[in-house]
């Protein structure tokens, strides 16, 4: 699944570790999502959307 997580994180000047701490996941999970090797669960996708104040479909596209 394509996503804009890397761009959104960069815009906030957060490291992968910063974002991982905010979402309660590991840095490896953030990396795997950004490199599109792992698709997050729906609850995690909602958490990401809430954190960036964006609708899910603006961050993740099938």
């Amino acid at each position: 699944m394509k996503n804009k997580l890397r761009e959104l994180r960069a815009a906030k000047e957060w490291s992968q570790s910063d974002l991982a701490d905010k979402l309660g996941v590991s840095r490896q999970t953030i990396n795997a999502i950004e490199t599109e090797k792992y698709d997050p669960s729906l609850p995690l996708a909602f958490k990401v959307a809430r954190l960036f104040h964006l609708p899910i479909e603006d961050i993740f596209e099938p």
Partner: protein
């Protein structure tokens, strides 16, 4: 700020996040079961075989009670992981336990068929259905499968 999730590297010796405290917390009961088995089934096997049935039964129950407690601490540890690591570690543990069971069953059947006695006639028992052997096999298969599964998400 959320609570930091558990990481598989916390129990992987040599990794950056390795913590012997976490390792003992997760695998302490497995180590206890292995030590009981190593002394009872391997090192002092002859002495233990002279014990009463009650004594030998207590030794076996102690090993398997420790294994049950290990399974509980392992499940708690996996539940404390984030979703990606839960998937990877759950898969690795399932593979390790399944492969160990398969290997011990296969070895046992080959032993019963007389293969090992035919190849090495001088040696007595080839039984590997002990917690000590299972520990070694589970550890080997866990690190093998965990490495393979983790490579997918690196």
């Amino acid at each position: 700020m959320n609570t930091r999730p558990n990481l598989p590297d916390e129990i992987w010796p040599g990794r950056k996040d390795y913590s012997w405290r976490s390792d003992v917390k997760v695998n302490g009961w497995l180590i206890a079961a292995t030590l009981i088995s190593a002394f009872g089934d391997v090192i002092y096997h002859n002495a233990v075989s002279q014990w009463s049935v009650a004594g030998r039964t207590a030794l076996v129950i102690a090993q398997f009670a420790a294994l049950a407690l290990w399974a509980r601490s392992l499940v708690c540890w996996i539940r404390g992981m984030d979703e990606l690591h839960r998937r990877v570690t759950g898969g690795a543990v399932l593979f390790a336990v399944g492969a160990t069971f398969f290997f011990i069953m296969l070895w046992h059947r080959l032993d019963v068929a007389g293969l090992f006695r035919a190849i090495f006639p001088g040696r007595g028992s080839w039984d590997i259905a002990t917690v000590t052997h299972a520990f070694l096999l589970i550890t080997f298969f866990y690190f093998l499968s965990s490495s393979l599964l983790n490579r997918r998400y690196q």
